[in-house]
């Protein structure tokens, strides 16, 4: 029988591949209902084994389990059509089900970049200090995350507050194989994306000002 953490890990990889596929130009322009149908077909294609492995299992070997923050940001990126396809438009009109653009996307990316700068160089061997060790349940580290999450909530950076909280919650309940909070907070793929996206936004803003 499949372990719970394999189901969650594979689901994360499958969702990521789906979300990336939906970003492709031809598919991006589809309306909500055909998009939902395509998602269902793709999902089946991803989880059916070809030979010894399904596409999701193959890619899990390459990508590893994706952080909760990655999944939340991917979901956020797909919010428009998801709300429409799932018939939640009415609910949306009444108030935000998913955070809106202004509610902390940039701050969430900034948090990822800062976390990556703090974590990766040291975790990969720079000196004797290894912040990854904090992730195995260090009380001070969790308290620090609580402070950042509270600050984000007060500042109405909803996406950032939600990312940290859901990552911490997922760690608490053992959502993935990892017993380390860092693996729930970020992954290298997200870090690379965050750097690229922030640079792009910076360039766009600068170009906008000039014109």
């Amino acid at each position: 029988m499949m372990h719970f953490t394999d189901i969650t890990g594979l689901a994360g990889v499958a969702l990521t591949l789906l979300a990336l596929t939906l970003r492709l130009p031809g598919i991006k322009r589809l309306s909500a209902k055909p998009k939902l149908a395509l998602v269902c077909v793709l999902l089946i294609a991803l989880v059916i084994p070809f030979g010894n492995l399904s596409a999701a299992e193959f890619m899990r070997g390459v990508l590893a389990d994706l952080s909760v923050t990655t999944l939340l940001l991917l979901l956020f990126a797909q919010r428009e059509w998801l709300v429409s396809a799932l018939g939640l438009s009415k609910a949306r009109e009444q108030g935000s089900l998913l955070p809106q653009e202004e509610s902390g996307f940039t701050q969430a990316l900034l948090f990822v970049v800062i976390a990556a700068v703090v974590l990766y160089p040291f975790a990969l061997g720079l000196g004797m200090f290894d912040p990854y060790r904090w992730g195995f349940g260090n009380i001070g580290f969790i308290a620090g995350l609580l402070l950042v999450a509270l600050l984000a909530w007060v500042k109405q950076y909803t996406l950032l507050a939600l990312s940290i909280s859901l990552a911490v919650l997922a760690w608490s309940v053992g959502w993935y194989e990892s017993n380390n909070i860092w693996n729930y907070l970020l992954d290298p793929w997200l870090a690379v994306y965050a750097v690229g996206e922030l640079l792009k936004r910076g360039v766009t803003r600068r170009t906008g000002r000039k014109s």
Partner: protein
């Protein structure tokens, strides 16, 4: 609207209350559990065997564990060549009463591993086994999905029948970077609270030794760095001296001479480690192994060379690892390495094989061909005695396994009486 406004703090509250609760249940630091050894009086014994029996395969990275009935179970990886898709973890059992290894069986394959882990796995390696606090065996072995060994992760599985059958492998998550680059080679050990210590090492971008602490369910509780990246330390081996003190020997993979085994030590059961220092023991970027006697003396097995792996020595330290003396050269083909052509190699190996395992004489031609095919390339043959792994049994006997020319796993069994006899002989080698 008020409900939605309170949704985030609600999630936050649940998340952090759960997290603090989980963090409060993380085990506190524990002391080392020092194995007990009782040595009965017995005549001196020194035997050598081949543990593996398959020919025309490459074998490497052997380890052994004492079973409850006093037999010894060995593990190694075996396949067409290192890193090949057909490489699997093999096992066999040595019966000291019969002085004989049983037939070789497959413990786990690459296919089984990737099926159980639900992810692509390209190759396997380095199995080591420890006995958990509940008496079961826990195996750790290396898996790679993409790239070379630097991209490795560790899989673990358990056995409740002394290694006859195993649970499905599970993945240890030990790194924030796509969970890559944690490898295992050293002997696992127990802490006083029943958690298990596993000496591991990192190879991606920089090389450094680390220590994992695993709970009874195979969850990683802690990972501690033994040396900084750039110091070239690999494959740590714990030589436990007491509940609080231990010396760690590490392979040196750096480029700065002198090429020596690097050591670190602890005085508080691993809460803090000393800065790494180069010992007097030569090291040609090759694995070492060692054990500590109940009286504090230490035995180590290593390539007593700065370059190459054509010799392997048994070394002893009576002063906690400060100085070492050679007890015996287990292998020495340094001089023979000058004659590297196939004819000279074959002639030499024809002598070495029966010396290593008397039973191999019956299949001598096949064993020689198998060895030649593994280590000779374009007319040049290279001797390799590497990856030693040593244990001491409850009755004080020592078992060493190591890679013999990548063709066989060689096993050496000796007891305290033989060691004492050897130590009484005049020391012809200089003290290191």
């Amino acid at each position: 609207m008020q409900g939605k406004r309170m949704l985030i703090p609600g999630i936050m509250l649940i998340a952090f209350v759960s997290a603090f609760y989980k963090a409060s249940s993380v085990p506190v630091a524990a002391t080392f559990q020092v194995p007990t050894v009782e040595v009965p009086a017995s005549p001196a014994r020194f035997e050598t065997h081949f543990a593996s029996s398959k020919t025309f395969v490459q074998v490497h990275a052997a380890s052994v564990i004492e079973l409850r009935d006093g037999r010894i179970r060995g593990f190694w990886f075996s396949g067409s060549h290192e890193g090949a898709e057909d490489v699997a973890i093999h096992s066999a059992v040595f019966d000291p009463l019969k002085s004989q290894w049983g037939s070789e069986t497959v413990t786990v394959t690459r296919d089984q591993t990737q099926h159980a882990l639900h992810r692509m796995v390209a190759k396997l390696g380095n199995p080591v086994v420890g006995r958990a606090a509940d008496g079961s065996l826990r195996m750790f072995y290396v898996t790679v999905s993409v790239g070379g060994w630097a991209g490795a992760s560790i899989a673990t599985m358990t056995s409740n029948d002394e290694g006859e059958t195993w649970s499905e492998p599970r993945r240890l998550v030990t790194s924030p970077f796509i969970n890559i680059s944690t490898l295992v080679k050293g002997t696992p050990f127990l802490y006083s609270d029943g958690t298990m210590g596993v000496p591991v090492y990192h190879e991606f971008i920089s090389k450094f030794a680390e220590m994992l602490r695993i709970d009874k369910n195979g969850k990683v509780l802690d990972k501690q760095r033994l040396a900084a990246g750039g110091q070239g330390t690999l494959q740590p081996v714990m030589l436990m001296q007491s509940a609080q003190t231990a010396l760690v020997l590490m392979r040196y993979a750096g480029s700065a001479a002198p090429f020596r085994v690097v050591t670190v030590s602890t005085q508080d059961a691993g809460q803090h480690w000393s800065a790494p220092v180069k010992s007097d023991l030569p090291n040609p970027d090759a694995a070492v192994t060692g054990v500590t006697f109940p009286d504090g003396r230490m035995l180590a097995v290593l390539n007593d060379l700065e370059h190459g792996r054509a010799a392997l020595s048994l070394m002893l330290s009576a002063d906690g690892g400060k100085t070492w003396r050679e007890v015996r050269k287990l292998e020495d083909q340094v001089a023979a390495s000058a004659q590297f052509d196939e004819a000279s190699f074959s002639a030499n190996v024809q002598t070495l094989i029966p010396q290593s395992d008397a039973r191999a004489t019956a299949q001598l031609a096949q064993y020689v061909d198998s060895t030649k095919r593994t280590v000779c390339n374009t007319g040049r043959c290279r001797y390799e005695f590497s990856y030693p792994y040593m244990i001491q049994t409850q009755h004080g006997d020592f078992h060493i396994v190591y890679t013999w020319n990548r063709t066989f796993i060689k096993h050496i069994w000796f007891n305290q009486a033989w060691l004492n006899q050897s130590l009484e002989k005049p020391v012809h080698d200089a003290l290191h």
